[in-house]
């Protein structure tokens, strides 16, 4: 009898404790969840609904047109042009920045005196307003009086028409993005390099392997997780950003620098075609969702976490 009562009390106590635990959890994470539900998840769903309408800024209501926008997209050569540009930009910037960033990290790993000053300088480009980066480089690359063209002419070469030619505009965009974001890869890889045990390298040296052999067989494999992390971040941020393009080339000339993000921005803001812009954005989200799912599977965001 008393045993049964005790057992009953035990169960109630467990339930009370569970309730209190849930209350505590809710007090801590509840506000952030509710906020994100209202101002991030809901807008995302809203955006999906918009993509099924023909809403424009001029016409306030917009009617349901089903998959019409998506159908139009698939036959819109400008959409495919933008997709192609995004793909080119991503592949070029990510691979360039990975290679250059790793070289920088290895170079700074020499631990030269005073190198912290240069490291401090190199961090700055990624913090500053992308539009200003665009303007800055439009000045540097100005065909008539820009510093870069003057320098190239001074050593006897002919500078290309950086932003004015369809052949060069995308390359220029890639170069400027690389100037701004290579330091990101560098910082990530350098941080990883600092944590690697020196014995591994010493052991390789003792075994008589040269610098490049050690680099290829020992260092790079150990850096792989950091490189993957940096690559994913650069890919996603490059994919979704449009403001550098806004400041640098405004998608031109002849749409050669119009990426998907800029294409969606133009449809939404300039042409005020909200439904179509939302459909483009959702195509991007689709790519990102597939991307992040793969990311979460193969590269957990919070490695080494003890729970």
């Amino acid at each position: 009898m008393s045993v049964a009562i005790q057992a009953g009390q035990g169960r109630t106590e467990t339930r009370i404790r569970a309730d209190r635990h849930n209350l505590v959890v809710f007090m801590f994470v509840g506000p952030a969840l509710l906020y994100l539900l209202a101002f991030a998840i809901y807008p995302l769903i809203y955006s999906l609904r918009l993509s099924f309408t023909d809403l424009t800024a001029a016409d306030g209501t917009g009617t349901w047109i089903g998959l019409h926008n998506y159908h139009d997209l698939l036959f819109d050569s400008q959409f495919w042009n933008a997709s192609m540009n995004s793909a080119i930009m991503l592949i070029a910037t990510v691979s360039l920045q990975l290679v250059l960033g790793t070289i920088l990290a290895l170079f700074f790993n020499l631990q030269l005196k005073g190198s912290w000053i240069v490291r401090g300088i190199l961090v700055l480009p990624m913090l500053i307003t992308p539009i200003v980066v665009g303007v800055m480089w439009r000045a540097l690359l100005n065909p008539d009086w820009g510093l870069v063209n003057w320098a190239i002419a001074a050593i006897g070469l002919t500078p290309p028409n950086w932003l004015g030619s369809t052949e060069w505009a995308m390359r220029t965009l890639i170069l400027v993005d690389t100037w701004q974001w290579t330091p990101f890869v560098f910082i990530i890889v350098y941080a990883r390099l600092q944590t690697l045990p020196q014995e591994v390298f010493e052991a390789a040296q003792v075994d008589g392997s040269g610098y490049f052999a050690t680099l290829w067989h020992v260092t790079l494999p150990l850096l792989a997780p950091a490189l993957l992390f940096a690559a994913i971040f650069r890919a996603v941020d490059g994919f979704r950003s449009f403001d550098l393009i806004y400041g640098l080339s405004y998608g031109g000339p002849a749409r050669t620098t119009t990426t998907l993000a800029f294409f969606s921005f133009q449809n939404g803001f300039q042409f005020q075609n909200y439904g179509y812009a939302a459909a483009v954005a959702y195509m991007m989200l689709l790519v990102l969702m597939i991307g992040t799912t793969v990311l979460l599977r193969y590269a957990p965001l919070r490695p080494g976490r003890v729970r």
């Binding site: 952030a32 307003t129 303007v135 969606s264």
Partner: protein, 277 residues
């Protein structure tokens, strides 16, 4: 590196790298000190400074073009949004770091993946929502969306910092009779200062640079933020006076440069947040 020739070359490379990083900023600074005509005729620009030209250009940019007012608007919006996001985000990050509950892992992943969300996917709905409650052309109309943008970033950075604080600290405080909230407030906040500064720094810079939502929400010049102001003044769409454009650029980035030099040691921590240790 022991080889003196190698050392010498390495230092040359180091100096060149510093120049590649810094020269564009300095060039912008020099251009902003020149008269319009000098930019076109002096190639490269001479390093002579004419203070009356400089003061005329910056007066024009700060007052006539309104960059000073835009700076004030940005400071208000950045300050309020960062503060609110920290108040909401810090307990959430603590909760995700310490408390276990059903579905916690997938919830964390959902929130963290919001860091990857393209702003263009939500800018129009956010604008329509803000407009729906009559908040276009107002500070709250910007602050509400910006808190949502910075929350995932802040939670992301702070979880990393909380994970590094030993759990024994919580347990000891709770044995002494502290509640969870007491632990967060009295025990965690003091040791989390670097984390809070880092999170605030990155949220603030993100909001300072954001201009897409502002482009939609803000119509009147009175509420323009600095990056929106800069974007409209120096857009690649239209011909510009380069001395003015350069000064607009300088005014836009100088606060970021000063701010990030003051808290320099936190920048690397923020950039590597979530990276493999």
């Amino acid at each position: 590196m022991r080889n003196p020739v190698g050392r010498f070359i390495a230092y040359i490379v180091l100096i060149l790298l510093g120049m590649v990083g810094a020269a564009p900023f300095l060039y912008l600074l020099v251009l902003s000190s020149k008269r319009r005509i000098e930019i076109l005729t002096q190639v490269p620009p001479h390093l002579t400074f004419d203070w009356s030209t400089i003061s005329r250009t910056y007066n024009e940019v700060l007052y006539s073009q309104g960059m000073l007012a835009f700076t004030k608007n940005s400071l208000i919006v950045v300050g309020a949004a960062t503060f609110i996001a920290l108040i909401i985000g810090t307990p959430a990050a603590y909760g995700f770091s310490r408390l276990r509950f059903r579905g916690d892992e997938s919830l964390i992943n959902t929130i963290l993946s919001m860091r990857f969300m393209p702003p263009i996917a939500v800018a129009i709905p956010l604008y329509l929502m803000v407009k729906g409650v009559g908040l276009q052309d107002s500070y709250p109309g910007l602050i509400l969306p910006y808190v949502a943008f910075s929350l995932p970033l802040i939670i992301w950075i702070l979880i990393g910092f909380f994970d590094e604080v030993p759990r024994e600290l919580d347990d000891a405080a709770m044995v002494d009779g502290c509640t969870r909230i007491g632990v967060l407030w009295r025990v965690m906040l003091p040791v989390m200062r670097p984390g809070l500064v880092t999170a605030a720094l990155f949220a603030a810079i993100f909001i300072w640079n954001e201009f897409l939502v502002a482009l939609y929400v803000i119509d009147s010049r009175a509420f323009q933020t600095i990056s929106l102001g800069a974007a409209t003044l120096v857009s690649a769409q239209r011909p510009i006076d380069w001395n003015i454009a350069a000064a607009v650029g300088v005014v836009t980035v100088i606060p970021i440069l000063i701010f990030s030099l003051l808290v320099q040691r936190y920048i690397v921590r923020g950039l590597t947040a979530g990276a493999v240790k």
